[in-house]
């Protein structure tokens, strides 16, 4: 049976490959517009038909191939018919740049089709008998994160389900290294010494190893390598300081290592509790899928197919022997994670990606820190591209080369995005004809290609990305990443590691300090839009080209308008991100035992709903209570103090932890991270497709309202009252009576963003 199938496939190959070559020959014929138009409609028809069955690999590949037909026809036409003459350098040079930007996008499209040919959904294997489980070291590298943030992560890591004797947790503190403690600047030295002492005490109370190395060499990679030296577990787990794992983390990942001896990595997605600046400022966090879901729920699965899913720096399990073979974590670039994976893939090791959110973390809240993080990714990925040359790297399969080159090249998007933004201006203001087309040609080639590519976007990413959101993310990053790219290209070894600031608050709405270029570009595009309108009205021979270009500029203007909303920061008072847990618990309040449901929990407190006989709680006079949770026969309890009455549902009250001891953190970890399905459910709830027209309408609305809001901020029209907020309870480490003050709203908003490491 198998033999017969094999033979059929071989026969089919002899038929299909020549057919493909014939098709390619036909696609590269300079045919008439009429032929092209009929072809485009026929192809679009089949494309839409094939899209109706996304689960079938045959239909999926038919979709890809037919979308590729449109793209290739467009590329062929663009190359052979629309470029300006070389003899007109004023047209030709910008024309060529725009052309290269488009060809880059087409190349990325081709790579993405390859990556997404057949995404893998992994099934978790059974972990095996407890005695056979490998020993696991958990590394939590830290640089300047708050002890409170670390306490939660450490507690959650410590609470993971795994045999006690096989799990060791390490806090690798780079903020308390010898070098820092002995810094020339006494203020830095004192801060480091204090941090060292506090964290050491916290770790001791939680049963976690604290380690601070001598020097801050090689940033995060150096820190992790130091961790490898002081530990000896078979597997190594890395969590960023803010990435708290759920209890099942190891159960879902470790089993893979038993099945494949050459496996070096099991990566899991990064799930975020808080919105990024775009989500926060456009208020989409509750409804719209997050930006990184496209990467984690689609791209990594696609990469996994080609054994090219890569290490993302956290929420991953690695094999120590593999790391040892590669001399630990690589630190040449500032994205050590991808570089490490590349070097291990090149040595023949395998990777696996598990598409289940198993950690919850934070992402940068302010636009400044967001851009800082993206600049690091961008520069690091380009460093890998320039220094490691993944496409030529020895030891990789062809598929891996394509994947790595693709993910690194992706970070050149700012160049193409800016080319798309500015090239219409050349025509509108200076009549430079850098894209030579008439409206019929544009309709037959470009419009059909655009329709096809929007349909493909929706087909591939519709669940995790709404229309125009990719473009908006690209645009807001492009403006500031352009300089980062130039700096890497000039000197690939120059960029240094920046730690992304997380958990910041903003006590009033204001423009981001980085907003100025966005306003400049917006007004430039606005002027172009007005001028193109004027030209269309007054020029008797207004060309078709002007119509195309004016429309294109309008799209850019909408992007720039919506981007103003992104850089107009709404205030963020919440210090602690809540996770809806809906856990049943008992609350002892003034001698009465109440049955309650904990609606949501954070590292600052909980929301409690009284199911019956809600007590009268006066927000002015805080009352204390004790909450008791039960799970698996064990009981966990912690003390809380009432803070507020929460709006909405009947009888829901906010409580803060009265004090936060290591045990409180264990309880919080239990409360928040006992169940992976909470994260999964939150993720799935937002993964709703938004059709092209609805998405476009929403985007158009944004571009109007957000522009107005940003202009309002710029004009100083923010009317906000100060909201009083109580500080979080201090962290109390009983054993040595150390007390670490909790964070309070009085802290000034940190806008400076990242600090240079080391």
């Amino acid at each position: 049976m198998q033999m017969g199938f094999q033979m059929h496939m071989t026969c089919a190959k002899w038929l299909a490959v020549p057919a493909g070559m014939l098709g390619l020959f036909l696609l590269w014929l300079p045919i008439s517009l009429q032929a092209q138009l009929v072809l485009s409609f026929a192809v679009l028809g089949i494309l839409f038909l094939a899209m109706t069955r996304p689960e079938s690999p045959v239909f999926r590949l038919v979709t890809f191939v037919f979308a590729a037909i449109l793209a290739m026809r467009y590329a062929f036409w663009r190359t052979t018919e629309t470029l300006p003459s070389v003899h007109e350098p004023l047209n030709f040079i910008p024309g060529l740049m725009l052309y290269l930007a488009e060809m880059y996008c087409l190349a990325m499209l081709a790579v993405s089709f390859f990556m997404l040919a057949d995404p893998v959904k992994r099934k978790t294997p059974a972990p095996g008998a407890a005695a056979d489980l490998p020993t696991v070291d958990v590394f939590i590298p830290s640089y300047n994160e708050d002890p409170e943030l670390l306490a939660g992560t450490l507690a959650a890591a410590k609470s993971m389900l795994y045999p006690r004797d096989k799990l060791a947790v390490y806090l690798l503190d780079d903020g308390g290294t010898e070098a820092k403690r002995n810094h020339r600047d006494p203020r830095i030295a004192i801060a480091a010494i204090r941090r060292h002492g506090q964290l050491k005490a916290l770790c001791a109370a939680l049963g976690v190893h604290y380690h601070a190395r001598g020097q801050n060499d090689h940033a995060k990679a150096g820190n992790l390598n130091e961790g490898l030296k002081v530990s000896k577990g078979e597997l190594v787990v890395v969590f960023d300081a803010d990435h708290a794992p759920v209890r099942e983390f190891l159960r879902e990942t470790v089993g893979f290592f038993r099945e494949d001896k050459k496996l070096f990595l099991v990566q899991t997605p990064h799930y975020f509790l808080n919105p990024d600046p775009l989500e926060k400022n456009l208020r989409t966090f509750a409804r719209m899928p997050s930006e990184n879901e496209m990467f984690y729920s689609i791209l990594q699965r696609g990469l996994d197919k080609w054994n090219a899913s890569f290490f993302c720096g956290s929420a991953a399990v690695l094999r120590r022997s593999a790391l040892a073979a590669a001399n630990g974590f690589s630190g040449q670039s500032i994205t050590e994670d991808c570089e490490t994976a590349l070097s291990l893939h090149a040595r023949g090791w395998h990777s696996i990606y598990v598409d289940k959110p198993l950690i919850a973390g934070l992402q940068p809240e302010t636009f400044v820190s967001f851009i800082g993080q993206r600049a690091r990714w961008c520069q690091g990925m380009l460093q890998i591209l320039l220094l490691n040359r993944p496409f030529l790297a020895k030891g990789l399969t062809l598929a891996q080369r394509v994947c790595y080159a693709g993910i690194n090249l992706f970070w050149l998007f700012p160049l193409s995005r800016l080319a798309f933004t500015f090239s219409p201006l050349l025509y509108i203001f200076f009549s430079l004809e850098i894209y030579q087309a008439n409206i019929a040609g544009f309709a037959a080639y470009a419009v059909t290609y655009l329709v096809g590519s929007f349909a493909m976007q929706n087909y591939l990413y519709g669940r995790v990305r709404w229309p125009w959101v990719s473009e908006l993310y690209e645009y807001v990053q492009s403006v500031l990443l352009f300089g980062s790219i130039l700096s890497v290209l000039r000197n690939p070894r120059k960029p240094t590691f920046n730690v992304t600031a997380k958990g910041q608050t903003l006590d009033r709405s204001m423009l981001s300090p980085l907003a100025r270029p966005y306003f400049l570009i917006f007004f430039l595009l606005l002027a172009a839009a007005l001028y193109s309108g004027y030209r269309l009205m007054t020029e008797p021979v207004a060309t078709e080209l002007l119509l195309i270009v004016a429309g294109w500029n309008l799209v850019n203007l909408s992007l720039a308008g919506a981007a103003l909303g992104v850089v107009a920061e709404r205030r963020e008072l919440r210090r602690n991100q809540r996770l809806p847990v809906r856990r049943h618990a008992l609350m002892a309040l003034a001698g009465t035992l109440h049955t309650v449901v904990i609606q949501d929990a954070s590292f600052g407190g909980v929301s409690v709903e009284f199911l019956e006989n809600a007590p009268a709680i006066d927000p002015e006079n805080p009352v204390e209570a004790t909450i008791e949770l039960r799970r698996g026969g064990r009981s966990v309890s912690f003390e809380v103090v009432s803070r507020s009455r929460r709006g909405g549902g009947e009888g829901i009250y906010g409580f803060a932890y009265r004090e936060r001891t290591p045990q409180t953190f264990i309880a919080i970890a239990d409360l928040m991270y006992a169940d992976q399905s909470v994260l999964q459910e939150r993720l799935t709830r937002r993964q709703v497709r938004c059709g092209f027209f609805r998405g476009t309408a929403r985007f158009a609305l944004w571009s109007v309202t957000e522009t107005l809001r940003a202009l309002g901020y710029a004009a100083g029209l923010v009317r906000e009252s100060v909201v009083p907020s109580a500080a979080d309870a201090p962290i109390v480490v009983k054993e040595n009576s150390a007390s670490i003050p909790g964070r309070a709203a009085a802290l000034p908003p940190i806008l400076a963003g990242a600090h240079v490491h080391g």
């Binding site: 496939m9 089919a12 190959k13 038929l15 299909a16 490959v17 057919a19 493909g20 014939l22 098709g23 036909l26 696609l27 014929l29 300079p30 045919i31 008439s32 517009l33 009429q34 032929a35 138009l37 009929v38 072809l39 026929a42 192809v43 089949i46 079938s56 690999p57 045959v58 239909f59 999926r60 590949l61 038919v62 890809f64 191939v65 037919f66 037909i69 018919e81 003459s85 003899h87 007109e88 040919a117 057949d118 893998v120 996994d304 197919k305 080609w306 054994n307 598929a399 009549s431 007054t538 020029e539 008797p540 021979v541 060309t543």
Partner: protein, 726 residues
Amino acid sequence: MAKTFLPLLVGLALLAASTAPCRAVDAAALIPFEQSADDHTLSGEDDEALFSFHLDGAQAAAGGLLTLAYANAVSVLPDTARMDVEVNGRAAGGFAIASPGGTRAETISVDAGMLKPGRNTVRLRARQHHRVDCSLDATYELWTKLDPAATGFRPAQDVAFDDFDSLLTVRRNADRTDIRVVVPGALDAEALNIVAPALQALVLFLNRDDVAVSVADRPGTGPGIDLVVATDRVGSTAFAGAPRGLSVRPAGEAGRATVVLRAVGRSEANAAVLAAVRGPMADGLKSGVLGAESGRLVVEAGTRLTLREAGYRTRTFSGRLSRTGFSVEMPADFYPAEYATLDLHLHAATSPGLDPSAQLLVRVNDRVVKSYPFRNRDGEQFDGKRIELPLRAFRPGANRVELLAELPVAADAACRPEARDDARPRFILLDTTSIEVPALARLGRLPDLAALAGKAYPYAGGKGFDLFLDRADAGTAAAGLTLLSRLALAARAPFDVTIALGAPAAGSSRDALVITAQGEFAELGAAGKGAFPDPVVTASISDGPAADSAALLEAFRSATAAGEDDLSLTARARLWLAEAPRRFGRWLNYDGEAPAHAVPHGEGALVTLSQMRSPDGLATWTTLSAAAPDEAEAGARRLVEPAVWRNLEGGTAIVEKAGLSVVSMPAAERYVAGLADRSPGNLRRVAAAWFSDNFEIYVLLVLGSLGLFAAWLGLTVPRKGVRSDR
């Protein structure tokens, strides 16, 4: 035999009378310009025309008078209209254009220093403006016509027809250069075969495109040339004294020359022609048919030719509509489609102050194919600005390309002739403006009368072919020889042709030109019997009045329809929507070449010229059918008229009896007549062109081949990498 001529001559005389010039001067000794009557018009605000005439050494040394007899349009403003004359590149004077009432002759004396033996050139430049109307359209009403019969060079010394070169000065007879083939005795194929090479050589030597050949057993009358076959077999005593071979002598009548071919058999006749071509005719051929012709660019793939090579000279233009025309002669087996564009590299400049609606229009074969707005109001300079012209607008053979620069200024709206400033140019078109021909798809596809008329395809190229006459009479022979002469001129070379009586036989791979004057052969190969010309096509292509009902209805509609501006917005939108599908359908069909079937020679047709594949598919037959020999001859004459010949296209051309209007019909389907270039590049271009014409097949092939490939990928990919097919 001459009787059959009479109706024709009468007809032609009538035709000529309609434009009969007023013979103000005695033209007896005039040496005419070699260019045909059609080229004697200068139109628009600023036009140039190039002429040539031949002088022998003595005539050149003596000097003479250039005589220009002209009439101009009434709308030309006399105060400013002017004609400038140049002889051999040197200014020879000029005159005011002021003869709206009738023909007026201007003479300009040209001294010997400006002349040279051989072909001399005259360049005329007419600048004329409209009396009252400043619109762009009004410039089309401006013209000055020279009377070809009364225009020419009057030498101090009379012409004597004593050598071949003197034949170049032969005058026209009713606007035609008359060549009479005189075959004494009974007409047979052998006699025609003997005379054919001499006739072709003579026509090529004359290099005139208005030659009409007649056949008779005695010489003709009036200006012209008699080509007399003096074979010893027949024993024509009149020319017994002539030397063996080809020789020239005056005929009995003034203005008429006799060329005597004295030879026995075809081989001697051929040798005689060869000797003449190598000897006394050589210079004339070199400076004539083999030389560059003004206004024409003969292109090959990959060539780049400037306007200078078409005879254009840079000049500034201060009018409203600059028109520059030239002819681009494409290869005969050129396959027009969208695989490439023919690039015009514009070297020009506009002056400041032009209206924003100023633009350059490029017309190819009378259709606007490209417009380029002159957007810059401060004046703009173009150094080789590329303007892409669609290849589909071109056809094999001659193509008329016109560059129209519309150059209105704000002051034109007021239209005060006195305010016009001719010193202030609006536009300059440099003679370095060039066209660049891309690599072309080369596939001979027939029937194609355009390729036949422009390049004598498929008869040119040295491959022998047969000329069949269905009967041996003067009319049929004249029709055959007229066509043959014109084709030789198109091919710029004589043919290896064998003339035979009868009809072509199947099974021969030789191409054939068939003249049938009995209305029988016409049925051969006609596919759709009873299919009549599509009235719409007839109406649109015919240059006669559209008399059928559909055209009448259309004309009525357009006359009574409200102007677009009067309509409400919704009515206009509705109109547009109603029109859209039709327009889209036409566009998809490459602007409506409605296929028609080969039409049998029918009622109302004088002659039908059609091309078809021989029944066995080995050869191409081009057939001229008529009901009677005199009709064949008259039809052939009509067909070779420069204006008609130039516009031949499609698979069939019909000369209608009524008004002698000519209708071209597209071919029902074409067949491949030759693929000379089998290089991969050419095959790819041919494939692109063919698939563009047959895009249903293209689309199906793409969908099929790539669908198959995609399905295979869909089965293969899950089995590669991490297997997901389990």
